[in-house]
Symmetry: C2
Subunit: 334 residues, 2 copies
DNA sequence: CTGTTAGCGCATTCAT
DNA sequence: ATGAATGCGCTAACAG
């Protein structure tokens, strides 16, 4: 049941069937109807593999992320998939766990499968992976990923400004002793800029960043929890803690609650990301909202732009962030 | 840069190149080396699309789920993808939002893309979608999905027994007034059996199911929260609440905490699923643990078995559940 | 052990 | 407006 049998049945050539299939070229309405009829009667479904071989377009893109289990990435994927659906693309999903070897392997099979492009999220691009990505020679869009080695388009928020805004929000609420549970400063995508924004906001308002109130984690709940428990043990807490991720904020909240503190009466906690879970803690988590879904959506739109040969206007696409006010931060004004 | 140019460069025929590529047939070690050398030097990457056209195998499977943003499904997908990786398959991910029309569309394009099989999760299979799934004529494995119309393999836990075990656990802890925030009873996959297990356990121990302590939601946080707040307003609470999903359990917890109750001192709450988030609430959520990752993994393994023509031994594959004891349930023994 | 060749199903160019 | 013929890159049957 291929194009040929349809042609035979409809008493036309395969070229004509192909024409009605792709709405290319002109076909007399009568024969078009006839062909369509036959296709339906035979329950014909064109073989996209053959078409891809011919056109070298698969209408499929690869999406490589560290771990779909991370709520940030599952929202991101949803945005990507929604945009894909709109544009009649499909996505091949691959988890990398940020393992460089695994990433290379995936790039390799994606290339072999002739996918049209990829959306890539990972840790910082080093020379090795940059070389692989260049060599593979297909359009790539980066998100949540820092690079100064590649000139692929990047989609995300202005992390430094976002952190600055959040800390300024806390200061505006009367907080002066503000701690931060940061990401690692070697992470130039999120870790460093968010810390830099925090520091800048503090200095901007004449407040001091105290070393004992800054610690570093890998954005996981466990990290936030561990650090908060440590601080509790040392006594002498800030009145507010800004966390570089919602998961760390949730971990910190859990630590404080388990130790008998009340949030936000005893201590205020702010997060970063606005994953869905942020609204599923008691009274809600106040957080710096990234438009996660929109970032995914835009990433795919940019990729499709690349595929269609649109000239790239801007390489660094910044989407707007907002502050999502919920119950985990209290005012310190008297 | 195709197989032909490699053949030319290595001074062999395309057949020989194909042989070393697929390790099929015998090739003299010397020529094999030479071919491999050439492939590397030319940075040759076989065109899997052409191969698929020839073999009618794409080594790609479709995965259709309601929403990747749902933590249950993101863990499921992770299991599926891990199994896919092990078996050198890729997955095309599609969110359906349980929309029947969307599901049909996706089945259609997946068929056109000649994917080898699909893992399907959805609401109950009705006649219309059953017809589509039969007609598409490719191997399908079901998970989280009830059907009595199709004889496709199904992977999951024994929901009724699981619920029974959990409620018995609560009873063993001394609880006698146990409420349930259930799924809808029309959901034959999870809603009805989990309720049935609850009821059976209660009756089994001579306890009565009180109508005012049973309510129904769609497994979301909001549902658990709404129902719990309602119960609080009515006063007269059970000492323990069994929820048909972790998200509803989290919602219920949030409701109680927001209303000033302490968990588990004032009320015990148990969930179902053991999504990661269940361990990220203060003191942890006691829950009926589904082996979510394993369910995904097994689903794909079964699908691959189908693809390789293995005879299906059992159509209903039940994976073992456990009770994950954390801090949200207290003992009522004196 | 190696080479020749016939398709896989389709899009597309060139005639007509 | 339609058809005939070519080739996309590969696998596998067959021949040697």
């Amino acid at each position: 049941m291929n194009i040929k049998s349809v042609a035979r049945e409809a008493k036309v050539s395969v070229a004509t069937v192909s024409r009605v299939l792709n709405k290319s070229g002109a076909v007399k309405e009568a024969t078009r109807k006839r062909v369509i009829d036959v296709m339906e009667r035979m329950n014909y479904s064109p073989n996209v593999v053959a078409r891809s071989l011919k056109t070298s377009k698969s209408h499929t893109v690869g999406v490589m992320i560290p771990d779909i289990t991370n709520p940030y990435f599952s929202e991101l994927i949803r945005g990507i998939e929604d945009a894909a659906k709109r544009n009649n693309y499909n996505i091949i999903l691959a988890n990398t766990d940020m393992d460089r070897q695994r990433e290379e392997e995936i790039f390799d099979v994606l290339k072999q499968k002739r996918i049209d492009g990829v959306v890539f999220a990972s840790k910082m691009i080093d020379d090795t992976i940059a070389h692989v990505m260049r060599k593979i020679n297909i359009p790539i869009v980066l998100t949540s990923t820092y690079t100064d080695k590649l000139d692929f388009p990047t989609v995300g928020v202005d992390n430094e400004k976002a952190a600055f805004d959040m800390v300024e929000h806390l200061i505006g609420l009367g907080h002066v002793s503000i701690g931060m549970i940061s990401g690692f400063l070697g992470d130039f995508n999120s870790g460093y800029p968010r810390y830099a924004g925090y520091k800048k906001a503090m200095e901007c308002h004449g407040l001091s960043v105290r070393e004992q109130w800054v610690d570093y984690g890998e954005y996981k709940e466990e990290d936030g929890k561990r650090i908060a428990k440590q601080w509790i043990k040392c006594g002498n807490l800030p009145t507010a803690i800004f966390c570089a991720s919602d998961m760390m904020a949730i971990g910190a909240m859990n630590a404080f609650i388990e130790e008998g503190y009340r949030i936000p009466q005893d201590i205020s906690i702010a997060g970063f990301d606005n994953i869905k879970m942020a609204s599923y803690v008691p009274f809600g988590l106040t957080t710096l909202a990234q438009p996660i879904h929109a970032i995914g959506d835009k990433s795919l739109e940019v990729l499709i732009g690349l595929l269609e040969g649109k000239p790239i206007k801007e390489h660094k696409i910044i989407l707007p962030h907002t502050i999502m006010v919920r119950g985990s931060v209290a005012s310190k004004k008297q």
